[in-house]
């Protein structure tokens, strides 16, 4: 019994020492000067941590049905309309009501390209390949939200004509 007690006391002392040594050695050092905090973070939008920034107006989804230019040939086209309430679940895919082979004529919508029927070996299937089922993995709506960062993208035509000029 006494031996046990002695071990316990030693253990308690050891752990106390550990806790002391784990404390921040510079805890008494002065705090760094505040710097302006900027980021792409949509929640804080560059406001300092102690300030609650006012909410920006909510962006509206463009619903004009005008197709947009693609940045490069393989780019998945962006959706030129709102898709509120369109169900894409294991049960139903409302995009394919109009964009399927069978629906394209009735709704005058562009049919999904043949790549959507291919499996990963390039074999063309009878229906849209399961790996293409979730449309929003590649296709997205566009809003009128201002761009958060600038961008210097040049499409391939611009790059070629620049090269010619040189």
């Amino acid at each position: 019994m006494r031996a046990l007690l002695r071990i316990a006391v030693v253990l308690a002392l050891l752990s106390g020492a550990f806790v002391l040594s784990a404390q921040d050695p510079e805890s008494s050092a002065p705090a760094p000067a505040p710097t302006e905090y900027r980021s792409l973070d949509a929640l804080r939008r560059g406001a300092p941590l102690e300030v609650e920034p006012p909410a920006p107006p909510m962006a509206r989804v463009e619903n004009r049905d005008l197709r947009r230019q693609r940045g490069w040939p393989e780019q998945p086209p962006t959706i030129p309309h709102a898709i509120d309430g369109y169900q894409v679940t294991t049960h139903a895919n409302r995009c394919m009501v109009c964009h399927s082979r069978a629906g394209a004529e009735q709704f005058q919508a562009p049919m999904v390209s043949v790549t959507h029927f291919m499996d990963r070996d390039g074999q063309v299937l009878a229906q849209v390949s399961p790996r293409r089922y979730f449309c929003n993995q590649c296709h997205v709506v566009q809003t009128d939200a201002p761009a958060l960062v600038g961008n210097e993208f040049l499409d391939v035509d611009a790059v070629i004509s620049r090269q010619r000029e040189r």
């Binding site: 004009r64 049960h91 139903a92």
Partner: protein, 199 residues
């Protein structure tokens, strides 16, 4: 046995046929009239009480499944604050059709008692069947419940998105299609749509 029954019926018939001894004709006519109003009113009041969203979602089967799914849709909250409630879409307005629908609904009470859709899984198993009843009903009445609020004649195509306007003009204007042909799942999650025409 049969003889006695026949005798009883005959004496009842005789009582009904004999003129009233104690009450005047005026009293009987007026009393009958007033009683009629009260019963009729009570009947219709009870009918109306079952014709509210609150009544519909008082069953957890409706509250947990279809009501939850209705909430994020445009018929629950929107820009203008005009709402569609369950009976707006599911119960006909004119009286005979309403009674017919209510009589059908008595069958749904059996479903409630026997727990046909008492869990989410059971509900999902039955969903296609239930949805098909609604689609068939709306197809047969040319989407009357939708049209109680949405009238093709007053649709301003310049105010609709271009594709909506063009499609409505082509298929709705010509009468070849009706709302429910294209707008399935407008208010709730869809059942397995494999093989169900949607356009």
């Amino acid at each position: 046995m049969a003889g006695r029954l026949r005798q009883r019926v005959r004496s009842l018939w005789a009582t009904l046929r004999s003129p009233s001894v104690h009450f005047s004709l005026g009293f009987l006519t007026l009393g009958g009239f007033i009683a009629g109003i009260i019963f009729w009113g009570g009947f219709n009041t009870a009918l109306e009480a079952t014709n509210t969203e609150r009544f519909c979602v008082s069953c957890h089967e409706m509250y947990d499944n279809v009501f939850e799914e209705l909430k994020p849709t445009i018929h629950y909250t929107n820009r203008s604050g005009v709402r569609a409630t369950c009976p707006d879409c599911h119960v006909p307005h004119d009286w005979t059709d309403k009674i017919a629908r209510k009589m059908q609904a008595s069958k749904e009470v059996w479903g409630k008692i026997f727990g046909t859709i008492s869990t989410r899984e059971r509900f999902l198993d039955q969903r296609l069947r239930l949805a098909q009843h609604e689609w068939a009903r709306l197809k047969a009445n040319d989407s009357l419940e939708c049209r109680n609020c949405h009238n093709y004649d007053y649709m301003d195509f310049t105010r609709q998105s271009p594709r909506a306007g063009a499609i409505h003009e082509r298929w709705l204007g010509s009468g070849e299609r009706t709302c429910i042909d294209c707008h399935k799942g407008i208010a709730h999650g869809l059942p397995d749509m494999a093989g169900v025409p949607q356009g």
